[in-house]
């Protein structure tokens, strides 16, 4: 079995994997970072979204071996020094989650959206969430939370 080495949440990690091991399986089963979730098997729900080299990707649609040498951030790596990331705080403040299962992917996507687009409009946020499915919230408060988180990430309050 090949060995992969990568940086996950600013820590160097390595492990033996089958070539068919997905990044999400490596993260969940071998690194025991279970915040990244799997909600579908057709690469659509987005519960598994992580950042690889700074870009949001679906960790269920990438092989672990492809990430050899990459830098990966999962939901567990978002809060810094015990302080919630502004997007995490916004999701809590605006009730952007209910059962919490889609939430890690939703927040990782939200941070990526803001990284790319600054403070997007409601319409843009809704379009940008095409790859993240939530069954609980009707998206209403997720959209609100992302708008609020975007303002804080861009220096507002």
């Amino acid at each position: 079995m090949p060995t992969v080495a990568m940086t996950v949440n600013a820590k160097s990690v390595s492990g033996e994997v089958e070539t068919r091991t997905l990044l999400v399986e490596f993260v969940r089963d071998q690194l025991r970072l279970t915040g990244t979730h799997v909600g579908c098997d057709t690469s659509q729900c987005g519960a598994c979204v992580v950042h690889v080299d700074g870009r949001a990707v679906k960790s269920c649609t990438m092989l672990a071996v492809q990430c050899d040498g990459a830098s990966v951030t999962t939901i567990e790596g978002l809060a810094a020094n015990g302080e919630l990331h502004p997007m995490q705080a916004a999701f809590r403040e605006h009730h952007g989650l209910q059962c919490g299962f889609c939430t890690p992917g939703m927040i990782m996507s939200a941070v990526d959206i803001v990284n790319r687009l600054g403070v997007p409009s409601e319409e843009t946020i809704r379009e940008e969430l095409e790859g993240n499915i939530c069954r609980c919230t009707g998206y209403h408060n997720i959209v609100k939370a992302i708008g609020a988180g975007a303002r804080v990430m861009n220096g507002g309050t």
Binding site: G39, Q44, T74, A79, R92, Q98, C99, T103, R126, G138
Partner: protein
């Protein structure tokens, strides 16, 4: 109202773990030595299993065991029960044939589990499953609800005409008489489309056997772990109740689909002893589509009799409900007592008669899905009222107002006793919010842009907080529907509340703590809500039917009464006063008429040190429990109004505005309640516009993934505009009615009424996909041209 008490929009306590990835869902759990299960499922809708050859599967590297229905039978493991007894109108009992956890002889839907492969890894289990050789003799299948009773296919030998029961409710003679006197009769034929619940966390189970104590532990995605344990113990013979611990940790959404006991978790528990290893299974989404109980799937013919003024005289309904391949746990109660008892809607209808036939087909079993029967009832009554108004040329709001129940309590002809409500108030508020008066102008503006605009109402009612145990028992339910709570006060004054309710997104850790905070005057971070573990909570009925507030919190409230009562006695000993003179307010005990007082924590500490209390008169400690059984169902109601714009060229419907005004009685946390409405409406809009479980003739689920099943996404939905009215619920101490299902109940009718308003005719079924709307626009245009 305190900052964290009843009525405060407190951010949720549970969020911290979910937003940091620190939640613990079933698939996050791992046990030492754990093996993995893969279920081999029937690829055919209807077939005899002629033989299973496990040799090639067992030869796969890492495969430990292959188990089949024969092994289950050999171990005397029973089948899955149908828990709600329905009696047909001819007096015969319902027909519910055996439902084995792994097929025994026949498979009856695509996805019916045939065998389980246990292996060292998930991948090896899957490889073993792929290698397993199963010999099928394929049979013809029946999938269509409307064809089940006439098809030559027999799903179960025990059920002639594939019929489980032919049930009725109401007064046929009185209804016939009402129609005979009618000046106008409105008739509709409608389909309530089959839905797949799609909680984003797929179902999962991890069973473990401890040979030292002969006991099992099951971690599973359940909305009601105690009921799961009871069923596994009493019906399936997996283990005695006291030897089976069921833990439902963080659960990622349920919507009904995680109420039932399924084959998979049962098999994982049983197999853990067989292979001597913990056994874990997690569904892939494709499996969820095939194996989670589906929802809805009714076809209905309805007739409404009106007098010349539009007063409703009688209502006649005939429904055929699809049960799927087997009768799932609550399936038979859904299209009967959870459906037809709500057909009176918000209206005073003197006579109602409803008949419901439940049928077996070669499809995934159908059971309660968010709303469970009540969305189907609301769709029937709210569609027919809208159509009647259009036929009679009366404004749909006016026709509704003319027929609203205005005096309470109100006995409907279909069992329910409505206890409180103000339907006119929610209608008026919703009409104001959406600016009903300005609609004509908006419609003209849309027309200028080449769009068809429509507006639709849904003045829904539901029966929630299920329910008085005696009442549901008399109607055939197999269980009582009370709830339990235990309030444990620790010596330092903080509190643990053990509840039989289960949160899978509803925010109980916050709202329940708010109640405790409100009553004991302590901050919510001093309160821990414990749920979802049969070893911790003595018993509970779980969470569904919007019952956790009305029933679960009422149990906590009762237990808090007892705790406060006891604490007052402790305080009376300590302050040497008569217990009757002790007043408790905002966390402080005072002796009436004096300046003597003690803080909450002081009293709780003394309850445990017991130094200052006379233990001959009063036991030490501060812990009380309560079982609460409600006196009636609760009746949340309200008015939702939807406004749509249709692009005639493509058939695309856009929801341009959606207003929901709900009366949920007392609201504990408005932020959470609004979230429940948003989510419910989204599911209702999904049903109305894009969600549909479609089977082909051979019984394959064509919409078996997110590639083909339309899951509402963020850009399918608008931001919703919400309002509330309030009539207190008289049947529980907190005045709560429940809010979990309202959106899913109200929305489909509001959306379809808006679309039919825009189209100018009624000829469209759910889901109103772009293709159907385009056809509906076109067919009507051709019809007009032909005239």
């Amino acid at each position: 109202m305190t900052a964290t008490g009843i009525g405060a929009a407190v951010p949720r306590k549970e969020d911290k773990r979910f937003i940091t990835g620190a939640g613990h869902y079933t698939d996050d759990m791992n046990r030492p030595g754990q093996a993995y299960a893969y279920f081999v499922r029937s690829p055919y809708a209807h077939a005899w299993v002629k033989g299973i050859d496990a040799r090639s599967a067992l030869a796969v590297d890492g495969v430990l065991s292959v188990l089949t229905g024969e092994n289950l039978a050999a171990d005397s493991i029973g089948g899955l029960p149908a828990g709600w007894a329905i009696t047909s109108k001819d007096g015969s009992p319902m027909v519910t044939p055996p439902h084995p956890c792994l097929a025994q002889g026949k498979v009856r839907y695509v996805g019916d589990p045939v065998a389980v492969v246990i292996a060292e890894t998930q991948k090896a289990a899957r490889d073993g499953g792929d290698a397993l050789s199963v010999d099928y003799e394929i049979l013809d299948a029946v999938t269509e609800t409307g064809q089940a009773q006439t098809a030559s296919v027999r799903v179960h030998d025990e059920a002639p005409r594939n019929t489980a029961f032919e049930w009725e409710i109401g007064d046929k003679a009185a209804t016939d008489a009402a129609f005979a006197a009618a000046k106008h009769v409105t008739t509709i034929d409608i389909v309530n489309n089959r839905l797949v619940p799609n909680a984003i966390e797929p179902r999962a189970a991890l069973g473990e056997f401890d040979p030292g104590t002969d006991s099992f532990t099951l971690y599973t995605t359940s909305q009601n772990p105690h009921v799961a344990r009871l069923v596994m113990s009493a019906f399936l013979n997996i283990a005695p109740e006291h030897k089976l611990r069921v833990i439902a940790p963080d659960v990622g959404g349920g919507f009904g689909s995680k109420i039932y006991v399924y084959p998979e978790e049962t098999v994982c528990v049983w197999a853990s002893r067989k292979v001597g290893r913990p056994v874990k299974w997690t569904a892939e989404r494709s499996e969820s589509f095939l194996s989670d109980a589906h929802g809805r799937d009714h076809i209905t013919h309805a007739e409404l009799a009106l007098d010349e003024r539009g007063k409703f005289l009688g209502f006649r309904v005939k429904t055929v409900a699809n049960l799927g391949g087997y009768a799932s746990l609550f399936a038979t109660g859904v299209p009967t007592y959870l459906y037809a008892t709500l057909l009176s809607g918000q209206y005073d209808i003197p006579a109602i008669h409803a008949e419901v036939d439940a049928v077996y087909t070669n499809t995934t079993p159908v059971d309660a899905y968010r709303g469970a029967g009540r969305p189907e009832a609301t769709f029937v009554i709210e569609r027919i009222v809208e159509v009647a108004a259009r036929e009679m040329g009366v404004d749909p709001a006016t026709l509704r107002k003319r027929n609203f129940v205005k005096k309470f309590p109100h006995q409907t002809p279909v069992i329910m006793l409505y206890d409180a409500g103000d339907y006119g108030a929610s209608l008026a508020k919703a009409m104001e919010l959406i600016d009903y008066k300005g609609f004509a102008k908006r419609r003209r503006k849309s027309a200028k842009n080449g769009k068809l605009r429509g507006i639709g109402f849904s003045t829904y009612i539901e029966a929630c907080g299920i329910a008085p145990s005696q009442a549901v028992g008399s109607l055939g339910a197999g269980v009582g529907l009370w709830e339990s709570a235990e309030v444990r006060v620790n010596p330092t004054g903080n509190v643990e509340v053990l509840t039989g309710s289960h949160s899978h997104g509803q925010g109980h850790e916050t709202t329940f703590a708010q109640l405790v905070s409100d009553r004991l005057g302590i901050p919510i971070d001093q309160v821990e809500i414990v749920h979802g573990d049969t070893d911790k909570v003595q018993f509970g009925m779980g969470t569904y039917g919007s019952r956790s507030g009305a029933v679960g919190m009422s149990a906590i409230d009762r237990a808090l009464d007892k705790v406060i009562d006891k604490a007052k006695k402790v305080a009376s000993h300590l302050m040497e006063a008569d217990p009757g003179d002790i007043e408790f307010k905002e966390g402080s005990f005072t002796v009436a008429g004096t300046d003597k007082s003690m803080a909450w924590a002081e009293v709780s500490l003394n309850a445990y040190t017991a130094h200052g209390i006379s233990t001959a008169e009063l036991e030490p400690g501060l812990k009380e429990g309560a079982f609460y059984d409600p006196t009636n169902f609760t009746f949340p109601a309200g008015c939702h109004i939807c406004e749509v714009e249709i692009d005639e060229d493509t058939g695309v419907t856009e929801i341009v505005d959606y207003v929901a005004v709900d009366d949920f009685g007392t609201v504990i946390n408005p932020m959470i309640v609004e979230g429940q409405v948003h989510g419910g409406v989204a599911q209702g809009v999904g049903q109305a516009l894009i969600e549909n479980a479609v089977y082909d003739e051979s019984g394959q689920l064509v919409s078996g993934s997110y590639m083909d099943y339309g899951m509402p996404r963020a850009d399918d939905l608008p931001s919703f505009r919400l309002g509330f009215t309030m009539t207190e619920c008289p049947s529980n101490p907190l005045g709560i009615k429940g809010c979990g299902e309202a959106g899913a109940i109200a929305a489909p009718a509001a959306v379809i009424n808006a679309i039919t308003d825009a189209l100018g005719h009624e000829d469209i079924s759910m889901p109103a996909t772009p293709q159907k709307v385009w056809q509906a626009v076109r067919s009507h245009r051709f019809a007009e041209a032909a005239e």
